[in-house]
Structure formats: C-alpha cells, structure tokens
C-alpha cells in the first residue's frame, strides 16, 4: 500500500473543506472494505485518506412514521440488519444487508459506502431503488437530496462532485400495506458478489422491480413495472415480465457468470421475486 496522509475530521464542515482542498488526491475512508482493498491492489493511490468516522451526527438510524427511515453514512450493515426498526418496517433492507460479504466484513462495511462505491452488483442498491430511497448529500454548496436512481452514473461511478459527502440515505414511509423481497443469485451462498440481484416491492396494484449486476448500474425495470401495474399475476404475465425485464438490462460476461447464464437467471429471478414479493399483498 502506497504511503498517504491520514486525516480524521471531527465535523462535516472540516471533512468537506479537506476534500475541497485536496480534490482528487483525497479519498473518503468509511468502513474501508472497498477502499483498503483498492489501495492494496494499487487501483487507487490517494495522497490523503479522510476518515469520516469521527464526524458526529452521521452514525444513527432514525425512523418516524412521517419521515420514514434515515441511515447515517457510518452506520454499518450489521447495525442495519440488527435494527428492530429496520426489521419491522423495511425487512427487505435488513435481509439485503445480510447478503453482503461475511459477518466480520459487515461489522465494518456501511450501506452508504456500498452505494457510493456504485458497483453494479451492490446488494443494498436494488432494495433501496424499489423503496424509492433518496441520497442526502452535503458539500461546499450546502445540502441537496437526490433520488437514488439518479445517483449512479456508470460502473463504479456516482454523481458526487469534489468536496461532496453522502451524509445519509433516506427511505420514505410507505403508507399502504406492502411486501417485498430481495433475491440474490451467487456462485455460493455466503461471501460472494451477486451474479444477479432482484428486488421486488408490491404496494397496492403496483409492482416495483429493481435489478443488480445486469447493467452498468443497478436499475429499476420501469417498463416491466408498467406492464404489471393493476394486472392479475398469472403464469403468462410472469413469463412476459421476465422477458420484459431482460429487454431492459444489458448483462455481460465476467468472472462470476457468462452473459447467457445471467440472461436465464434474470428471467427466473424476476418471476420468482414477483411471486414471493406478492405473498401477503392485497392485489
């Protein structure tokens, strides 16, 4: 690992000014599970590493019926999956967090880090997308909130500009009854990245679908959602939904799977997720 200077700001303002000052030479250190591997492999070689874990106010999970859920930047994946509030109000998210890496990795890895890393296969992304999550960004020009589906711009690329930090991710409350599921296909059950990930949330007559690891970014399958809206789910419609979702994505071959295998699994998982996601739903 190349030498760097380690900085540990104690306020968001201080963190932002450090990031503005050093620009591309500075990298944010949060849980470190992506950054430290990249530094070790010399994929990134920061001159300044800015540890944000001493910044107050970004380490909490909060929930209210009115505002929904808010997950601070430094909250770990284990803190989320162990959270009673998340388990009872957003079980799909608690489950998805548990599918990332191993238990010891999840004691360090964060949801905000998972999102910022912007891997196409980020496991927390599909559930957050179907929950209409928003990203709360602070930077030199103040605060702004961006829908998650506008946050990713390409493989490992997000919209963050120089000096900007994601302070939290929020999930709006869902007034009506809903159910949802995240299904992950990997080469093995534990400690693997998703070959294909599919999240489905059913609210009223609406079926929301998002997919991971099948396009340059995690994405919502909006055409398939339109196809399903208000319809009774039967075998024929499920078949069409699988084909439709496949037409909305662009899977590639990589170390985890061939393109052809992914195409098959997309269809299977979309159908399965809709069926499982529908369970207990009124529509």
């Amino acid at each position: 690992m190349k030498k760097f200077e380690y900085l540990k700001p104690t306020s968001l303002g201080e963190a932002i000014s450090i990031l503005v000052k050093y620009g591309e030479a500075a990298y944010i250190l949060n849980g470190g599970t992506d950054l430290i591997v990249s530094m070790r492999d010399k994929i990134v070689q920061p001159e300044y590493v800015v540890d944000i874990k001493a910044v107050p106010g970004i380490d909490k999970i909060t929930y209210s019926e009115q505002d929904g859920l808010n997950i601070g930047a430094t909250v770990t994946l284990n803190e989320i999956s162990d959270s009673r509030v998340v388990q009872s109000h957003y079980p799909i998210l608690a489950e998805a967090c548990k599918t990332v890496g191993s238990y010891q990795l999840r004691n360090r890895a964060t949801l905000v880090g998972n999102i910022c890393n912007a891997s196409p296969s980020a496991d927390t992304a599909p559930p957050l997308l179907v929950l209409d999550a928003k990203v709360n960004i602070v930077g030199p020009d103040g605060e702004k909130t961006v829908p998650l589906n506008q946050f990713f711009v390409g493989v490992k690329k997000n919209i963050l500009k120089k000096g900007e930090i994601v302070a939290s991710v929020s999930v709006p409350p869902i007034k009506d009854e809903w159910t949802g599921v995240y299904l992950k296909q990997g080469r093995r059950k534990e400690v693997d990245l998703a070959t294909v990930g599919v999240a489905v949330v059913c609210v009223g007559d609406e079926v929301r679908i998002a997919l991971g690891a099948v396009a340059p970014t995690p994405i919502r399958a909006s055409k398939t959602e339109t196809l399903l809206k208000g319809k009774r789910i039967d075998e024929l419609l499920l078949e069409q939904a699988g084909e439709s979702a496949l037409a909305e994505v662009s899977p590639i071959s990589d170390i985890r799977s061939s393109k052809e295998y992914r195409e098959e699994i997309i269809k299977v998982l979309v159908k399965r997720a809709i069926l499982q996601g529908k369970k207990g739903c009124s529509a």
């Binding site: 470190g32 191993s102 010891q104």
Partner: protein, 157 residues
Amino acid sequence: MKHKISFTINGEVKEVEVEPNKTLLKMLREDLDLIGAKEGCGAGECGACTVIVENKPVNSCLMLAVEVDGKEILTIEGLSVGINLDPLQESFIKHNALQCGYCTPGMVMSAKALLNRNHHPTEEDVKEALAGNLCRCTGYQRIVDAVLDIAKKGVGK
C-alpha cells in the same frame, strides 16, 4: 508521517507509532509480535485475520492500524489465561477441529464473538457466524461441532 496511537490489546494498554498505510493485521504481526492472526487473502474474503475490536469480529487486513486508536482489541493470544486455554480452544482440540491450523485463530475469534453475543446459538447461527472464515483443509463440520458443544455447556462467555 507516523501517528502515535494508543489502545488496549488483550487487556494491556499499548502506545505505538504507526505509518497510516499499515493495516491492523500488519501492526499486530510486525510490531507487536502477535502472529496468531494470519493473512490469507488480504481482501476480506477468508477471515484468517479475524480479531475482535470493540467486541466485534473484524477482518484486521481491512482496517488501518491508525483506526484502532482508543479502541479495545482482543486477539487469539488474549484468550488463554496463563497456560490455561479458553474453553472454546479446548473444545477445538477435543473435537479435532483443526488440521493445518492456518485458519484456526480466525475461526476461534469469530466463534468467540458469536458466543459473546449469542449464548445459545443454533447450528445455523454458527454457520452464519463462520461463513467468512475459510478452511482449505475443509474440516468445517468438526469446527461447527466444537462451537456447538461449548455453547451447550454454557461456558461460551
């Protein structure tokens, strides 16, 4: 620039100077002569470097040494008291839960952390807690047995 940090390790307060680009694992092995934790993959996939920081098992290869400033660390070397092994270690021996031994310190620390947070783990709980620890001799069943046996006896804590 080196950073002066202090932490408690295996019950002892230590003060050391470290370069920021040194991982916790490297500091343990190179500066503190605690060579129980091993580097397998160096990328958070094998768990051979697992130690307990602030009561939570973590991959010490994925943590910078400077990050443990002010924290409490437990490594495999801190489990035994004098020549008396921890009951969990005894259970590993009793069940022949090790072959080459490379993964063992990580396995034991993951299992120890599990027993600290869950006194009555099921087989599923044990498998989930150890999923991030690879054993290339593949002696998993005996390891699970060793952990379950000690949990049943209620001496996990």
